[in-house]
């Protein structure tokens, strides 16, 4: 039985060099090789013995980590004086040094200036031990509260959504926990399941929310779309961190998709931004796996990217930032959830490209498509955006230099231009020097602070190298060069 884990411990012995080093440190110069060997064996044995005793103290201390105090206690029961001053809580501060053909481990003792200690402000006093009670289980069902672990761990959610057939199996092996995690499956129902044995269907997950959860849902959604920014920040923080939201996920996703549908019609830019921030928060929550709800979330996000009109005054309001933000969300979800089965990324790419290619597409949508595509990574930029640069350049030129048809178009073209410019230059310069898809292109659009989008990355504009700029300028059109100075 123990074939594969055959212990080899009997050969582990301290090197004789250590013995020599130690002997030297206490003033014994020439130690014979034989005595070294004998000593090292003896010392190794004693160390093992002490370690074994120290383990006992660890077990009784109800810890998984051996601490220096355990060693001290083990020494004490052997009637050996403990090692004073080794009060390290976390690690043993050994340092390594070599030189003159010798290798040494020692522990560092820094000189500490007392005045430093005296003059530094006192650290915060650690909190005292306190007792906190919570319900681990109520009549056999574990309530979804922050004190408890998430009812369905993310891996399980993932397994369920990607491989629904397999997901049943762990439930069979270990009834109880998982079924309970599924929600309010009552104890009786579970009993029946057990009897049915082999032909057990995937348990229906009922989506009844407890009163507390309903309250929570109401509070959170109100705060998210309400007027108080502080409350909103708190609510979003809660969505992004709370572990017990699994059961509320369907509600949230419906809330978001309905919210987007209504507010796009009403051109309520602020609310759309709030809803997108909710999506972001949900995605950030480490305990949630959104795959099951993408059919609601993705249309909402895509709407926010490519919709013709997102606000009442398209010439003044900064709906561009929302498009950028949503595009980033889209890219993130593509990255996380795209599989060969659902093909999210390719489907999204197709959608974007199709409407971009359409001659009649408005400038706003055009902007959204390009923004969406450009977030999808250097590969997409290279294959889809770069080849169209010339055509797009011509179109922009036509709008900007041509007769003023509409102010909105002009602004749109302007934005498309500023979006395209640095992106393509960067990519071209990258491919120009032979480097390929290494880093993702940083976005250059700065998010206006008034909107406070929760941006993942700082919007640092990168300075493209001059020759590349020239190349671009030439590629788009010579006449436009005067207006295309890179900021």
């Amino acid at each position: 039985m123990a074939e594969e884990r055959r212990p080899k411990q009997c050969t582990v012995v301290l090197p004789t060099e250590s013995m020599k080093a130690m002997a030297e440190s206490i003033g014994v110069g020439q130690l014979q090789e034989e005595s070294c060997a004998a000593l090292s064996e003896e010392v190794s044995y004693r160390i093992k013995e002490i370690a074994q005793d120290a383990l006992k103290f660890m077990h009784h201390g109800k810890r998984r980590k051996l601490m220096t105090s355990d060693i001290d206690h083990a020494l004490k029961i052997k009637n050996v004086e403990p090692l004073y001053g080794f009060q390290s809580q976390e690690f043993i501060p050994f340092r390594f040094a070599s030189g003159g053909g010798r290798e040494l481990h020692f522990y560092e003792e820094k000189e500490v200036d007392l005045s430093d200690i005296i003059n530094t402000p006192l650290p915060r006093v650690p909190l005292d031990v306190s007792l906190k009670a919570h319900w681990l289980s109520i009549e056999g069902v574990q309530p979804a509260i922050p004190e408890n672990p998430p009812p369905a761990p993310k891996e399980q959610q993932k397994a369920e959504s990607t491989e629904p057939l397999k997901a049943v199996k762990p439930g069979q092996e270990e009834e109880g926990s998982i079924q309970k995690g599924q929600g309010a499956t009552s104890a009786e129902a579970k009993g029946q399941c057990k009897k049915e044995g082999l032909i057990r269907m995937k348990p229906r997950s009922t989506h009844e929310l407890s009163v507390e959860q309903q309250l929570y849902y109401k509070e959170i959604t109100e705060a998210c779309v309400g007027s108080c920014e502080a409350k909103r920040a708190e609510a979003l923080q809660s969505i992004a961190t709370d572990p017990g939201l699994y059961q509320m996920l369907p509600r949230f996703s419906t809330f978001i998709s309905e919210g987007v549908r209504v507010n796009v019609v009403q051109n309520n830019l602020a609310l759309l931004i709030y809803l997108m921030r909710m999506v972001k928060a949900l995605m950030d929550n480490p305990t949630l796996y959104l795959e099951k709800y993408l059919h609601e979330l993705i249309p909402a996000v895509v709407t926010c990217i490519v919709s013709k009109q997102l606000c009442l005054r398209p010439d003044v309001d900064n709906h561009w930032a929302l498009r950028d933000f949503a595009a980033r969300l889209m890219a993130q979800s593509c990255k996380t959830f795209s599989t060969t089965t659902n093909n999210i990324q390719s489907r999204i790419t197709k959608t974007f490209t199709k409407s971009w290619l359409d001659e009649k597409t408005q400038w706003t949508t055009r902007y959204g498509c390009i923004a969406g595509l450009s977030e999808l990574g250097p590969d997409v930029i290279k294959t889809l955006i770069i080849p169209r640069l010339t055509i797009e350049g011509a179109r922009i030129k036509a709008v900007i230099e041509g007769p003023v048809v509409s102010n909105i178009d002009k602004i749109g073209a302007d934005h498309v231009q500023s979006l395209l410019l640095p992106r393509s230059t960067l990519t071209v310069s990258q491919s120009g020097i032979g480097g390929s898809v290494g880093s993702r292109t940083p976005s250059i659009i700065k998010v206006p602070s008034s909107l406070t989008l929760m941006s993942t990355r700082p919007g640092t504009p990168t300075q493209p190298s001059p020759p590349a700029t020239k190349y671009i300028v030439m590629a788009t059109s010579a006449g436009a060069s005067s207006t295309q100075q890179v900021p």
């Binding site: 009784h60 029961i77 289980s137």
Partner: protein, 763 residues
């Protein structure tokens, strides 16, 4: 007998305790003590060893009829040892007491020659326990100053041949032949019929260990290493821990003072083998003239031969794993009175009852019949119960009676649990416990919770709105009108009211903690070797019980108060009474640390779990070991008795919970599911559900009703102890609840069957 035993224990301890505890400086004794301790090459266990065998074996002499002859030998060996160390005073005392016991012994002594079991090999039928003690004592001798002439023991009895045990590994075989011998036996066992193979395979491990030790002892270091590397992989995986210790031991010098080795050399490894299989083995060894192996089997193994079918591999695996093999069958034959004591009849004031009924609408119907049933239960005497006065119990005080009434009222409201009615779990998390939470206890009425910490503090919290208050100082107390009705209220100092109190006094981590049933006292045991009794009225330390010289791992109050038990690194469990500074009983016999101690609900027995992977049940009345339960594969860290006293559950570092039938001394269930050490076990108030809490951050609930029902006990299994364990631990699991990152170290069912759990958050 009872008196005699106490006398003996006392006599033996007076010499030490007087010096250490009373502060009477008895220079002479102390000097000698130091001398023996240092002369024993620092193994440090001398104190416990030299004293415990004396006392316990003496206890055994006066009680057990199994092996008085050996006991006498032990006694003589102890005498010899004391003499050699010039402890003349102790010798005198002991001899005086021994003289008494020897006279008592003489009558049954003659009949005890063949008291051992099977009788296959005469030299192996010694009572394993006493024999081990004898040899353990003698082990200490070579280090002591050489005394050439062994003093002639009094009474002209056969002189115990101390040297035989000393030279346990005296046989000098050719070291190169060892692997051959072992291989030969291996080949033989592999070739026998399947039904015998599993049984005979048990021989491998002890044989391997002893052959290895023999090689080491005779300074064949290289051969020993080779032997180890060649065959250690064949051993069962549950011996890995011991093998690791063994592998470190490569020199004769290492064997001195290594406790594990001492155990191997001095106690016999017990195997249970059917007669047929044994005959096969014997014939093979005799045919081959394989004396080397035969000698080891004769000297170091105790083969418990039974008639009947050989056991299967799974049966053997279920029972093996302990440090010294399985328990002998006759070790578990003593009758154990596992029934509960009759509850004293207390009249429940009727008006109160009605009031309760009015307060709790709609409940009175249920209450009436239940109360009746309880009444009838308490009137009938359980045939398995010990006599009410078998051990003296403290009388009930008025406050106790009040508490009992409260208890009955609460019990009437308790929820009936079962597989379709699981308890709610309330988890008490200790936050910011940087000091390291090492022990928790909750009072029976669930009003107080106490935590022991690695920084040697004990903290008590009140979990009800009632705050903790101290009694006023003596000066203030004298001003109180003692005649007033609310005098108990008046003596409390309102100014000290707080939710928690800290008790300072220990000088090492607090590993065990226990509330007294009346909530007036708290016990704590610590690494510093003491058990302390704290008053929960004044929140001060009342007594420090010194006796264990090494860390005390666990302590617990008797369910009736007054008595308590403690067990620690010195391998001895001690029974104390709160008003005695010396222990009343010493329970010696475990081969490694006593890691947990629990009282039986009827207070007549004490169960101890040990790092030697056995559980022992001790009789409080006479200090005898009445059950040895083997089957765990790791140190045992938790024990729990079922409320009816019939069953016991134990949890160990191997993550398994085992269920035991105390009456028959049988393992009746194995609950697998945890992945780490189980630190907490508790039966619900009616015993239908067992809750287990573990280091793996889970609380699991098990259907014990079903587990106990599933066991079929026919006469044969009851007689032989060879039980087929039902493979249904997954069906028995009712629920598993994971905490965020909090190991569960205590569990408690309230009187209404709400489960409380406790642990420290460990981010």
């Amino acid at each position: 007998f009872h008196r005699l035993f106490i006398l003996l224990v006392h006599a033996h301890f007076i010499s030490k305790m007087a010096a250490v505890q009373d502060g009477q400086v008895d220079l002479e004794v102390e000097k000698k003590e130091i001398k023996t301790e240092t002369s024993n090459d620092g193994s440090g266990n001398n104190n416990a060893n030299s004293s415990s065998p004396g006392s316990t074996s003496l206890g055994a002499t006066s009680k057990s009829p199994t092996g008085p002859a050996e006991d006498q030998q032990t006694l003589l060996a102890v005498l010899q040892f004391l003499k050699r160390n010039k402890l003349n005073e102790s010798v005198d005392i002991l001899r005086r007491e021994a003289g008494l016991s020897v006279e008592i012994d003489d009558s049954p002594g003659s009949a005890s020659g063949g008291a051992g079991s099977g009788g296959a090999s005469n030299s192996t039928v010694d009572g394993g326990d006493t024999n081990s003690l004898l040899s353990r004592v003698s082990i200490a001798i070579p280090a002591a100053p050489a005394v050439t002439a062994a003093p002639v023991p009094p009474k002209g009895l056969d002189q115990p041949d101390v040297n035989v045990v000393l030279s346990a590994y005296s046989q000098q075989g050719d070291p190169d032949l060892y692997p051959l011998y072992y291989n030969g036996l291996k080949k033989f066992i592999e070739s026998v019929l399947d039904c015998h193979r599993a049984e005979l395979s048990q021989v491998f491990y002890p044989l391997f260990v002893h052959m290895y030790l023999e090689l080491v002892y005779n300074n064949h270091e290289v051969e020993a290493k080779q032997f180890f590397e060649k065959f250690s992989g064949d051993q069962e995986c549950y011996y890995a821990e011991d093998l690791r210790i063994l592998s470190g031991m490569t020199k004769k010098e290492h064997m001195k003072g290594n406790e594990t080795m001492l155990d191997f050399r001095t106690s016999k490894f017990v195997l249970r083998i059917s007669r047929d299989s044994y005959q096969l083995l014997k014939r093979h060894l005799q045919e081959r003239q394989n004396n080397q192996i035969w000698n080891i089997i004769q000297e170091h193994l105790y083969i418990d031969i039974f008639d009947g079918m050989p056991r299967s591999k799974s049966q053997i695996d279920a029972m093996s794993g302990s440090l010294a093999g399985e328990a002998k069958r006759d070790a578990n034959k003593t009758k154990v009175f596992y029934g509960l004591l009759k509850e004293p009849e207390i009249e429940v004031p009727l008006d109160d009852e009605d009031e309760e009924a009015e307060n709790e609408e709609g409940k009175p119907k249920k209450k009436k019949p239940k109360k009746d049933s309880m009444g009838s239960k308490s009137k009938k005497q359980d045939p398995n119960a010990p006599q009410q006065t078998r051990i003296p119990l403290p009388e009930l005080k008025d406050s106790d009676k009040l508490d009992k009434i409260m208890n009955m009222k609460e019990a009437a409201k308790k929820i009936r649990l079962g597989s379709d009615n699981l308890p709610s779990i309330c988890f008490y998390t200790f936050l910011n416990a940087y000091q390291g939470l090492t022990a928790v206890d909750i009072t029976d009425d669930s009003s107080l919770i106490a935590g022991g910490f690695a920084d040697s503090t004990v903290r008590v919290w009140s979990v009800t709105p009632k705050k903790l208050r101290r009694v006023k100082s003596a000066a203030d107390l004298s001003n109180i009108d003692k005649e007033s009705d609310d005098v108990l209220e008046r003596i409390m100092d309102e100014k000290t009211a707080s939710e928690s109190k800290i008790l300072y006094g220990h000088s090492g981590p607090v590993y065990g903690i226990s509330f007294s049933p009346d909530r007036n006292y708290l016990l704590s045991s610590s690494e510093d070797g003491t058990v302390r009794l704290w008053s929960l009225q004044t929140f001060t330390c009342l007594v420090g019980y010194k006796g264990h010289n090494y860390p005390v791992w666990d302590t617990q109050f008797s369910p009736y108060g007054y008595y308590f038990v403690s067990g620690g690194h010195d391998r001895v469990a001690r029974l104390w009474a709160t008003d005695h500074y010396q222990p009343l009983r010493m329970f010696a016999g475990h081969l490694a640390d006593v890691t947990c101690t629990r009282f039986h609900p009827n207070s007549n027995y004490v169960a101890t779990g040990s790092a030697d992977r056995t559980i022992r049940l001790w009789d409080v009345l006479n200090g005898n070991c009445v059950r040895i339960l083997t089957g765990h594969k790791g140190p045992i860290h938790s024990l729990a008795f079922s409320p009816n006293g019939k069953f016991m559950a134990s949890g160990a570092t191997d993550g398994r919970v085992l269920l035991w039938d105390i009456g028959h001394g049988l393992m009746i269930g194995e609950l697998k599911g945890h992945t780490d050490t189980i630190y907490a076990l508790r039966f619900s108030r009616d015993g239908e559900i067992l809750a287990s809490g573990s280091m793996d951050n889970t609380v699991k609930l098990w259907d014990t009703l079903k587990a106990f029902d599933d066991v079929e006990l026919d006469d044969f299994t009851a007689a032989t102890g060879h039980i087929h364990l039902p493979e249904n631990s997954q069906e028995l699991l009712l629920g598993s609840y994971t905490t965020k990152s909090t190991p569960v170290i205590h569990l408690h069912f309230t009187r209404r069957n709400l489960l409380l759990a406790a642990g420290a958050y460990n981010p």
